[in-house]
């Protein structure tokens, strides 16, 4: 049993035992001494009494030399007493016998056997040496003469007997008292202390999942234990209260943390779902935040971008270094619109950049917001172009009639003038004759002065003006023209043969020298469109491509036009690609602009592509886009909706 792990019983028994034993030991020792003295006193008293009575009676018998008589008295005395030995020394008898004294007496052994005293008996000498108490007295006669002496010896057996009795009684008492005490102690301790204590312990142990007892501890038993139970209850109440408070506090904190986390996630989502690039930097231009758009714009994941130098990740910002520093130091936002730079593919891009300074505590930094304005700039340009074209369309419809009438006057007038100068009309010859003009000389004059060439020029100019008006009318077409389900490959074939015919007719070049590659997807669905308009657009793109092969700096060696048709989602896609000289960015960006042309004056109206754009975009709700790489060629893409509803 370990020193610390003992029960209250063990402790009690130990305490009771040691107390009782030590008390008994002391008590026993004292009692024994007292008893021993009592025995001694009794022996002394008895010895003295016996000696006195014997001394008187023996003096008589010794004077009378009645040895037998006093020997009988002595034997009688030893038989009826506790005496161990009585020895008489008789000087009277000794005188007779010629000795110093006649010695006689009796010795009683431990077993009660009585023997006559024999001074030479070793056994007797041995017994006598164990004498408990002995005394002797002189036997005196009437006149004080010494007659002899008596020696009395008390038996050690009696004393030992007394001692044994005493010890036995004492031991029994001790054991009995101890046992009684222990039993009582245990009983009462159990009843008064232990039972209530274990009840408390049990109640305390019967705890629920919160670690606290469900019911309070029963307040019973002695006052101290009731006080203990009551303070345990009070303690539990305190614990419960403080635990409840703690739990509430913890729940509140968890809730707060959850809210904080929600807000954080929400903000992160907001920041990530923003279409802008958002980059946080500190005052050392180290990146502290990197949103999704930043990742998708640069391709750099946040793990890599964070803590890196912002100019390393976004090199185009480097030219703005001073302005960023200024924004941070002066705590003033800086914005820069349409900042242009060339990306790694060399394409020109426009960025809107805002630098918002941030101050949180003593930490300074900034949030840089970057929007890719390239698309919106393009869109803006397209909207402007669209508006321009709409106004051109409205203007064209109104102007057409007004222009056509004077044009009619010019063109018809010129035709009449030329007819009336020709010798083919009999009326002309007659009028000349009437006026006295020689018609042949008139012809010579006209030829010499190249009059007919002027008329041709007037006619050509009028025709060009007429062409412009007709093209401009393309903008004002109303959408009442019937859309029909059209087989695009068939339509393309028609446009190709028309283009070849037109081109050859105008004798620019032999269209047959251009290799035409057809890449038509099989099972193309029919596309709802106004056939003549789409054919006009295709014709336009094809002749443009053919013209492109005759750039100022020479002809394209192996001119080729590739026409593709395929389905692109809910749209049909037509591509017209040439391997001509291509267009630089400045030309491409204005390709759809009305009256913009790269052809020499008189060769093009600058309306073909803008009318095409109008037809595709406004009339058919499709898309027309151009892509060009200088030196490699140009591709035009037409998307037309496949469903009839989308085209309305």
């Amino acid at each position: 049993m370990s020193r610390n792990n003992y029960s209250i019983y063990t402790a009690l028994i130990f305490v009771v035992l040691s107390t009782v034993v030590s008390v008994m030991l002391v008590h026993g020792f004292v009692s024994y001494q007292v008893a021993k003295n009592q025995v001694l006193d009794r022996a002394r008293e008895q010895t003295s009494t016996t000696l006195n009575s014997l001394k008187k009676s023996l003096a008589v018998f010794i004077q009378a030399y009645a040895v037998n008589e006093y020997e009988t008295i002595v034997l009688h005395e030893i038989e009826n007493s506790d005496f161990f030995a009585i020895i008489v020394s008789d000087k009277k008898m000794g005188e007779i016998l010629g000795q110093d004294a006649y010695v006689s007496g009796n010795v009683k052994y431990a077993d009660g056997r009585i023997a006559e005293y024999d001074p030479d008996d070793a056994q007797q000498a041995q017994a006598l040496s164990q004498c408990f108490y002995e005394d002797s007295t002189k036997i005196e006669g009437e006149f004080g003469e010494v007659l002899g002496s008596i020696r009395v010896c008390t038996s050690p057996y009696a004393v030992e007997q007394a001692r044994e009795d005493f010890l036995r009684d004492n031991l029994i008492n001790t054991v009995a008292i101890t046992l009684t005490l222990i039993i009582l102690l245990i009983f009462f301790t159990h009843r008064i202390v232990l039972k209530p204590l274990s009840a408390i312990a049990q109640s305390v142990m019967q705890s629920d999942e919160t670690g606290l007892p469900q019911t309070g501890v029963k307040e019973q038993g002695p006052r101290e234990i009731r006080a203990l139970a009551s303070s345990i209850n009070a303690m539990f109440e305190d614990i419960k209260r403080s635990r409840r408070a703690l739990e509430e506090d913890i729940n509140r904190r968890i809730e707060m943390q959850r809210q904080v986390e929600n807000i954080r996630l929400y903000l992160q989502n907001v920041i990530d779902s923003m279409p802008s690039i958002l980059v946080g930097i500190d005052s050392n231009r180290r990146i502290t935040h990197w949103n999704k758009e930043a990742q998708s714009f640069t391709g750099t994941p946040p793990e890599q971008a964070l803590n890196a130098d912002v100019f390393r990740e976004l090199p185009f910002l480097e030219v703005l270094s001073e302005r960023i520093t200024e924004a941070i130091n002066q705590n003033k936002p800086v914005s820069l619109e349409h900042h242009s730079y060339r990306d790694e593919t060399g394409a020109l891009r426009y960025l809107d950049i805002m630098v918002y300074p941030l101050t949180s505590g003593d930490r300074r930094g900034a949030v840089i917001r970057i929007d890719d304005a390239t698309a919106s700039m393009r869109l803006q340009a397209m909207v402007m172009q669209n508006e321009k074209m709409l106004s051109v369309g409205g203007l064209a419809a109104g102007m057409a009639h007004e222009i056509n009438n004077p044009l009619s006057g010019v063109l018809q007038g010129v035709q009449n003038v030329r007819r009336r100068l020709s010798e083919k009309l009999p009326a002309n010859l007659k009028a000349a004759e009437d006026a006295g003009v020689d018609f042949e000389n008139l012809q010579k004059y006209l030829k010499k002065r190249r009059i007919d060439e002027f008329f041709s020029a007037i006619s050509d100019s009028g025709q060009r003006a007429s062409d412009i008006v007709i093209n401009m009318l393309g903008f004002s077409r109303t959408s009442n023209m019937e859309r029909e389900a059209t087989d695009l490959p068939e339509l393309i074939e028609g446009a190709l043969s028309l283009a070849a015919l037109d081109y050859d007719l105008k004798k620019h070049y032999d269209f047959k020298n251009i290799s035409v590659v057809r890449e038509f997807e099989e099972d193309m669905p029919l596309v709802p469109c106004v056939k003549s308009e789409i054919q006009q657009v295709l014709f336009n793109l094809l002749t443009n491509a053919a013209h492109a092969f005759q750039a100022e700096d020479g002809q394209t060696p192996n001119p080729s036009i590739t026409v593709r048709v395929r389905q692109d989602g809910s749209m049909a896609l037509i591509e017209v690609e040439d391997n001509g000289p291509g267009m630089p960015e400045e030309v491409l960006s204005r390709a759809f602009e009305p009256f913009f042309t790269t052809k020499p004056p008189g060769k093009g109206t600058g309306l073909g592509l803008s009318v095409s754009y109008f037809i595709i975009h406004d009339e058919h709700h499709g898309r027309l886009e151009a892509e060009s790489t200088p030196g490699e060629g140009t591709v035009f893409r037409i998307w037309l909706p496949l469903s009839k509803e989308a085209t309305q």
Partner: protein
């Protein structure tokens, strides 16, 4: 030539009127002309007109109404529409008077021969 009657040209644009009339005259037709639909209707009452060449946009009464009135006045009269308008859709009642898309000519006429062709087509 084989035309059984005169040609009436109606146009409010003097230079167009002049050149159209001159063209027909040079081709040997008898031509009468008017600068408004109202004047033209008056002429129709007196002159034996076989074909009318009509501009659409006229000062008071327009070309379509003139055709209706003229056809009412002279059943069997043939019409050629010569217009500077971007889009001219022949109204159905005028179509029923025998005016077909082939007889609708757009200004400016780059080749005036088409006028002749139309007249000859109508005189068959």
């Amino acid at each position: 030539m084989t035309l059984d009657g005169k040609i009436l040209v109606v146009d409010d644009d003097k230079s167009v009127l002049l050149s159209t009339v001159s063209f027909f005259e040079d081709e040997g037709y008898d031509v009468v002309s008017a600068e408004s639909a109202e004047d033209a209707l008056e002429l129709l009452a007196d002159e034996p007109v076989a074909v009318a060449v009509v501009d659409m946009r006229l000062p008071v009464m327009d070309g379509n109404d003139f055709i209706r009135a003229a056809a009412d006045m002279k059943p069997g009269l043939k019409f050629i529409v010569l217009t500077g308008s971007a889009q001219y859709n022949i109204p159905t009642d005028i179509q029923s008077l025998g005016v077909t898309p082939e007889h609708v000519l757009k200004k400016p006429l780059v080749e005036m021969k088409v006028l002749m062709d139309a007249v000859q087509d109508l005189s068959k």
